[in-house]
């Protein structure tokens, strides 16, 4: 976060005072989010107990899609990522980006290993 006037400490204090303007959410809001999360749990169970037959790969993708959406709801609405400042959002994005590097490059090796040889 950069200061509005770089030579004025008072402006710096003002900047941080805004942080206090986000009180934690009220019970009604939280109950709604909770209901949505329980709904996603139900969806996860439906996917989990459905027999996809030969399309097991599809089942994995569906299950992970449900879990990912559920986690996103939790992060955005219960952990208040939605209202977080830019640098916090950046941190969350960095976590996803670096995890995708880890998954992406490692898996690429396993998917392409059989393709060719020297």
């Amino acid at each position: 976060m950069s200061y509005a006037d770089p030579h004025d400490p008072a402006a710096a204090a003002e900047n941080y005072a805004n942080e206090l303007q986000h009180p934690p959410p009220q019970i009604g809001y939280l109950a709604t989010v909770y209901a949505v999360l329980v709904g996603f749990l139900g969806l996860a169970l439906i996917v989990g107990f459905t027999d996809f037959g030969e399309y097991q790969g599809l089942k994995v993708l569906c299950a992970l899609g449900v879990a990912g959406t559920q986690a996103a709801v939790l992060a955005l609405y219960m952990m208040e990522l939605r209202k977080a400042d830019r640098v916090t959002a950046l941190a969350a994005g960095a976590a996803l980006f670096w995890t995708s590097i880890l998954f992406g490059i490692t898996l690429t090796d396993y998917f392409t290993r059989h393709l060719g040889a020297i």
């Binding site: 950069s2 200061y3 030579h7 960095a94 880890l102 490692t106 690429t108 090796d109 290993r113 393709l115």
Partner: protein
Amino acid sequence: MNLDYAPQCVPAPEPDPTKPRVHYLNHAYGWLSWLFTVDHKRIGILYLVTVTIFFAAGATAAALVRLNLLTPTSELLPLDAYNKAFTAHGTVMLFLFLIPVVPGVLGNFFVPMMIGAKDMAFPKINLLSWYIFMLGAAFFLWTLLSGGIDTGWTLYPPYSSQYSHTNVLYAGLGIFVAGFSSILTGLNIIVTVHKMRAPGMTWNRLPLFIWAMYATSLIQMLATPVLAVTVLLLAVERVFGIGIFDPTLEGDPILFQHMFWFYSHPAVYVMIIPGMGVVSEIITCFSRKNIFGYAAIAWSSVGIAVVGFLVWGHHMFLSGQGYYMGMLFSFITMLVAVPSAIKVFNWTATLYKGSITFEAPMLFSLGFIALFTIGGVTGLYLGVMGTDIHLHDTYFVVAHFHFTMVGGMMLGWQAGLHFWWPKMTGKMYSDFWSRLSALTICFGFFVTFIPQFIAGYNGMPRRSPSYAPEYQILNVISTAGAFIQGIGYLMPVFYLTGSLIYGRPAGNNPWRATGLEWQTTSPPPQFNFDETPIVTCGPYEYSLTSDDVYKHIPVPSTNGVHTGKEGVHA
């Protein structure tokens, strides 16, 4: 007062030498005041003392290895003891010295000071991370005392997981625990840089050392957890005799290498970016010129940190990883050379037509540029798949990474230590001995490692206690160079320690440098600055006078907060 350079904030007056002064070293006394301190400066000193001891331990192991290689037939050490010696050298130097040294000592001490903060964002966690580091070191000590390990620092299974008869478990725990110290230090530095900057310290006014520490911390924070979980899985296999890297269960040992290098390749940048940051500070100061290409150097640090995560497979060209993956990794490896080269070009351009003086920090820094460039360029030989097949696991690799880690980070660390020693202690060390030390280390370094390039190129394998007799002359030269280096490293122990007692007072700003840390008294007061500094210009205004800068600045507002000293603006 008009200065011929423009400091980032109004300098504090020199204290009256006849009056006793309270500063961070003497405001409290006794062991407990050190062991329970939450002052980032004292924690920095704790790191300084401990990593110096670990460096001595790692250097002893190196001396054993080099002595053993004097003869082609391994006369000095039994074969398994040789394995343990080079593993001890690798693990101790990497995990207990190179990774914590600059973030732990200079990062802790100077990140808050250079951004004008009173302390790190989380002072207690900062102390905790030193204790965790010591716990990790205790595991390493235990490993060494209970017979050492012989797997090499890379701990590749299935050898390390099931077949090695040495104490891999405790070494793994040491890596795991020391890793958490690394994570916490990195986290602390990132939060500090984001949240604790003084008024006026915008991102474009951050010293390049801060940018480098930020990039380093990013790597420490994002990569180390993966190593932690990898080592944990290795420990499971070690303890229960069954694990996920176990080929008898159709597990894949190469997966360990992927996960290990996901950390360990970025970690080699943890071992170089801080040195680059230090050198960026020193080159500009001793050239009396603004840095050339501030933004390029700053963003190339971040660039190395990010691209460094995409190249780990170049350690695995011959491991059984896929052919196309090797091609991809080889290509991206070429990319990571770009930001490093950007830095070297910018330092050189900074030197151009500067008013250069050759004090010890500058000699170390110039040594850094020369040696790191050689280390970096030879890295490209290894990043190309074709040449790597020839050079893989030879002394060429050993020479390459010593050129970057010793020639780079070790010299960078020495440069930083010599640069900031007067600020940390308030005392100036011997000019003659420090310059002699810098020259000795650089000379000894060339003598040690240039022969290893030749031996490796001709096929001498690494990690082998015996070798073909035609390599003996090269190895004898190399060992001689190692001992010249050793003398060079011993010198600072004496003249720096001696300076604490006999050194002349350094004054607030012996190098006439512009950074915030130089504008307070030496040694700094307990909370770094007597008044919150207000930053008025970029970090390296060496070619402007202070009047040039200050006369364009409006007098700060005076609504009940610190305003700095208005006198200079009058």
